[in-house]
């Protein structure tokens, strides 16, 4: 299920522009790092949306100082004793050290323009943002608590990896688990806004990210089910330009609105108001 990495061309890999000067992967122009940062991680020249960490996303979206993290104490483990070229336990440790995250999702509650929400964000820097047991459990608990407290759910997905291979079928089943929790939320009249960002693929695209009452996407994100390399290998033709982008998803009816990063907060607030939540 885990899908290919985003194609290198045109899209940024993880890696925030740091340092004084940066080359934008979108327009290849050299830009002033601070300038992009001031624009929420968007290239001032071409509007390219850089990778954003889950923490930065939460800071951008929520009113300052309102975020309370939920279920931060959950930790991944290694139920399959999985080993490829590297043992999964070692991979986990290395990723935790590199990203400062315990796993690929942060969940909690906070305010968006003074509206209380339950929010989850997946971070594509942690094993491709893939969903294992901890990501699934944090999201399921988030949704269940939001249902109980009558809060709108916002999930911002940045997951190129889909269901995490290293936890095998347990990962695949997180798709069903989170989807089932969202179905109950829906049954109780709860609102769910899904925000798809670069990249949203595989088992994440094929579960919660697709199930929003409203689905937003950031511009030019890679969004799809099968990875482009898998498709090319199967059908042996070159993929059309713009295939599996946010714009492609909008054109085919799977995204309600493409929302640039600087508008995301106000657009979310507006949907919450329309739904009376």
């Amino acid at each position: 299920m885990a899908s290919d990495q985003a194609k290198a061309t045109k899209r940024s890999k993880r890696g925030v522009p740091e340092g004084l000067w940066q080359r934008c992967p979108g327009c290849k122009r050299v830009i002033f790092g601070k300038e992009a940062e001031k624009r929420l991680g968007v290239c001032p020249e071409c509007g390219h949306h850089f990778y954003l960490s889950a923490k930065d996303r939460i800071n951008q979206l929520l009113d300052s100082g309102t975020f309370t993290e939920w279920d931060a104490h959950l930790r991944p483990t290694d139920p399959l004793e999985f080993r490829d070229k590297k043992a999964y336990v070692d991979r986990l440790q290395a990723e935790q050290k590199r990203t400062g995250l315990s796993d690929a999702a942060i969940t909690g509650s906070g305010m968006i323009r003074a509206r209380r929400v339950a929010i989850g964000v997946t971070d594509s820097a942690f094993i491709m943002g893939s969903m294992g047991s901890v990501v699934g459990e944090r999201l399921a608990r988030l949704v269940e608590r939001a249902t109980k407290d009558d809060l709108p759910v916002i999930i911002v997905s940045g997951s190129g990896g889909g269901a995490r291979m290293h936890e095998g079928m347990l990962s695949l089943m997180q798709m069903a688990k989170v989807s089932a929790a969202l179905a109950r939320h829906d049954q109780h009249g709860g609102l769910f806004i899904s925000v798809q960002t670069n990249p949203t693929m595989g088992g994440v695209a094929a579960s919660f990210a697709a199930l929003g009452d409203v689905v937003f996407a950031e511009p030019e994100a890679l969004i799809g089910f099968a990875g482009p390399r898998t498709i090319e290998a199967t059908i042996r033709v070159e993929l059309p330009k713009g295939f599996q982008t946010s714009e492609f998803q909008l054109e085919h009816g799977f995204v309600d609105r493409i929302v640039p990063r600087n508008k995301l907060k106000s657009e979310i607030a507006r949907v919450i108001d329309y739904c009376g939540k």
């Binding site: 399959l80 047991s133 697709a210 089910f225 099968a226 059908i235």
Partner: protein
Amino acid sequence: MDTMHPGLAFEQPIYDLIVARQELEKLPEIPATVEDEIRRLRREEAEITKRIYGNLTPWQTVQVARHKNRPHTSDYLSLVCEEFVELHGDRRFGDDRALITGFAKIDNAKILIVGHQKGKTYKERSACFFGCAHPEGYRKALAKMKFAAKFGMPVVCLIDTPGAYPGVGAEERGQSQAIAENMYEMSRLRTPIICVVIGEGGSGGALGIGVGDNIAMLQHAYYSVISPEGCAGILWKSHEFAEQAATALRFTSKDLPGLGVVDDVIEEPLGGAHRDQHQMATRLKAYLSKSLRQLREKPLDELLEARYQKFRRMGVFLDNGKA
């Protein structure tokens, strides 16, 4: 059952014995000593088959699950069901041949069957993309399942797919959305659902018809988050490591009940389902009849709560340091 057919490489010792025995059986007259020899060959064949099939590696299991003579949904429709009334089309785009749906009767119980279809001949196989469904297949399945629920018919899903189809059309028509919606709706569909992995349980393509009250798999089926080849390509950077990936992924019927992913394992005849379709069908039918009876007795609200909790419990992680 004993007809010669090209088997899998690791089955060669079994087929050697079958060939030797069949040679003897061809003799116009069979003297007593040859009869003894035939009996001995039969015994040896059974012993070797038991030894080989009792110790299949995960990679061998994958080969058995993909065996060209392994019974498919179409075989079970004729061997398990007294009747099958196919219902075509998703009312939106088309009629996916990789996922077939229709009314059926098992021991006179009226049910809806949803099953992946792999095809037998090359023509059939390419018409159904080798069992890889498109979004219209998942949408057809959901539409018919809702129809079944409306009239109180339980649903039986037979899962046998390498995965959902990876292609341009599938993406254009929302493969992700179709699979997601199926899980979402199946988790709350107000009728009993039994899911059985009969061959390949390929990732999201399997789970798209895989949410239910009883999740079962045949003994030599496999059910995996990703194909072993795909996993090897990503993590080992080469498909040649598929065998290692198959072991690492822990996707056989020996692993999955312990992980809480599969409720029941249906034992296969000696030498695998492809050696004796009729016996396999009898066992599957017995399992389905029993499960249908049990699930029908439960009040629907209880059933749905148990279904939710089953999936809710899946996952292994540390909570305050405890697993």
